[in-house]
């Protein structure tokens, strides 16, 4: 076992490296097409933006122009939904090449995706599907993370998914799986606290126990978002305010991690930019003053789909 001094020294070196490769960005927003014009016109004060990579990497039109303009003024992180790191299909290197091109163009701070798979046998469901959590999957995912990181020439950042089912073949908890994955590969973690809460409700575990079991020194980013509680289960809709329980989880988690770049996602029923900004500033207030926001009453009387992503503009 290492001595305390050795542990402390290696932790210090790790923090130095993390600071360089994954700087603290503050409080950011997910960039959505609805706000393109507002941002270009008003240049709002916001610390950073996160893009959905797939909405930009193929564009040769307005979205690409917009991201170039925004990247000149704000730090930008690339967040993908199609890497399918857990799929048994071959890795799509054409897709990775496009990520790499965009990363250079906009000087992206880092590239993230999800611990999930999206399809198999060439078919893409465009959903973030859960993986059986066992040793076979762990080995498969760790190997693929290494391939992707080598290709991208930078550590990959992976997000914990929200999920609605568990497999009979699970032998690991999600937090054990993620801890092992992070330890065995060179990946970093995007900790989505709303996803932790959603899955904790759906699978009946304590969300803070999940957080405490993770290698928190590997967490480089938080996600916060709204969801829909259907009574028997929660759907991760990103269509509303962050619920109070998730703010509380955020408050407790940052006491363990210290400052971590924090981002608000809102993908459906998207409000005007100023309201969106107000929502992420609640996170800043918690971080700076420890003050929880006033509770917002959220209706669950809607039919919804978990984070649908489309890029088509209005004619």
């Amino acid at each position: 076992m290492n001595s305390d001094a050795e542990v402390s020294a290696s932790h210090f070196l790790f923090e130095m490296e993390k600071e360089k490769a994954f700087p603290y960005l503050g409080f950011g927003l997910g960039l959505r097409s609805k706000h393109f014009q507002y941002i270009l016109n008003n240049k709002p004060e916001i610390d950073w933006f996160e893009i959905i990579s797939e909405n930009f990497i193929d564009s040769k039109g307005f979205p690409r122009y917009v991201i170039h303009q925004i990247a000149e003024r704000y730090p930008v992180v690339m967040h993908g939904v199609s890497m399918s790191i857990g799929s048994t299909d071959p890795i799509n290197f054409d897709y990775l090449k496009k990520l790499k091109v965009m990363e250079k163009e906009i000087n992206a701070q880092w590239i993230s995706d999800h611990l999930c798979w999206t399809g198999v046998l060439g078919k893409n469901t465009h959903d973030l599907l859960p993986l059986p959590l066992n040793e076979e999957t762990l080995k498969h995912v760790v190997e693929r993370i290494k391939v992707v990181s080598d290709f991208l020439e930078r550590p990959l950042v992976l997000e914990n998914p929200s999920s609605y089912l568990q497999f009979k073949s699970d032998t690991l908890t999600e937090w054990d799986f993620i801890r092992e994955m992070a330890n065995q590969s060179d990946c970093r973690l995007l900790l989505d606290l709303n996803n932790v809460y959603v899955s904790s409700f759906n699978h009946q575990f304590d969300p803070f126990e999940y957080v405490k079991a993770l290698p928190l020194e590997k967490v480089v980013q938080f996600h916060l978002a709204g969801h829909l509680n259907k009574g028997t289960h929660i759907i991760d809709t990103h269509d509303n305010h962050v619920v109070q329980a998730v703010w509380e989880l955020y408050q407790k988690t940052i006491q363990l991690t210290g400052p971590v770049s924090t981002l608000l996602e809102w993908d459906s029923n998207i409000p005007e930019f100023p309201e969106l900004k107000k929502e992420v500033l609640k996170a800043k207030a918690i971080f700076e003053n420890g003050k929880l926001p006033e509770e917002v009453l959220i209706s669950n009387n809607t039919e919804t789909v978990s984070n649908a992503l489309s890029t088509t503009p209005a004619i």
């Binding site: 046998l121 893409n124 073949s169």
Partner: protein, 248 residues
């Protein structure tokens, strides 16, 4: 074959099955074996195994049809929710996404509608032809919006020699879609328009898509210039075509 690969193939078979997750499981075979949902998926305290995988089944169709509704909003309003869903659902069964991007999802929808609507129709009805024109128009808009333009090429070309913009797309329709598409997308229309041969050119200026109606002769000349039959832009149209972004 690994267990992981088998589970993934089984799950995609189940959640994309047209008759629901339960029948999907009955009709999905892995190595000639059918797996019971309960043997693969654990129940929770509040949901059965079937209900839990059903969330993914519902989400698959709902999510992708939602994307169609955004891209083809005029078509959705023209057809009505029920008929639109019918076509979108059947399209997904015939053409499941094989791309990493949702931008490609609706690419073949106009040709799918054409083959579906006009199958065994020797004399298609006017509404069917209008529907096809709306689909083609909306898809073209998406492609011009995301495609190559000449915005970044302006500084590298001589202004004396007009080039066709890489953004332009010409569309030959049977209905005046450009003049009414706004009403259909806003769901603010009372009837379908009367047929009228309509030649359009889609252009892009400062990344904004614009659509112009062209007379027969102008449309033909532009076709000839674009395809290289004409060596250069005819003087008659030089000023106008530069102004509207057809050339740069």
């Amino acid at each position: 074959m690994s267990d992981l690969k088998q589970i993934q193939e089984w799950m995609v078979g189940v959640i994309t099955h047209p008759k629901g997750a339960v029948i999907g499981a009955e009709e999905t075979s892995i190595n000639d074996q059918h797996w019971n949902i309960q043997s693969v998926v654990s129940p929770s305290d509040t949901l059965t195994s079937e209900q839990r995988i059903g969330i993914y089944h519902n989400g698959y169709f709902a999510r992708l049809i939602e994307c169609f509704k955004v891209e083809y909003r005029g078509l959705l309003n023209a057809l009505g929710e029920k008929l639109f869903q019918h076509f979108a659902w059947n399209f997904l069964l015939e053409h499941p996404s094989t791309s990493y991007t949702l931008n490609d999802l609706g690419k073949l929808f106009p040709s799918f509608l054409e083959s579906t609507l006009l199958e065994n129709e020797s004399a298609p009805e006017s509404w069917q032809l209008f529907i096809l024109d709306v689909a083609k128009f909306e898809r073209t808009f998406t492609e011009v919006y995301n495609g190559e333009g000449h915005e970044t090429l302006l500084d590298t070309k001589s202004s004396n020699q007009l080039q066709t913009s890489p953004a332009i797309v010409m569309l030959d329709l049977k209905f005046p879609v450009a003049e009414c598409i706004g009403h259909f997308r806003e769901d603010n229309f009372t009837s379908f328009p009367e047929p009228m041969i309509s030649h359009y050119v889609f252009t892009r200026q400062n990344y904004m898509v614009k659509v112009y109606r062209l007379e027969d002769s102008e449309y033909q000349i532009l076709l000839d210039w674009k395809s290289g039959v004409l060596d250069s832009c005819p003087d008659t149209f030089r000023q106008k075509w530069k102004a509207i972004g057809v050339g740069y």
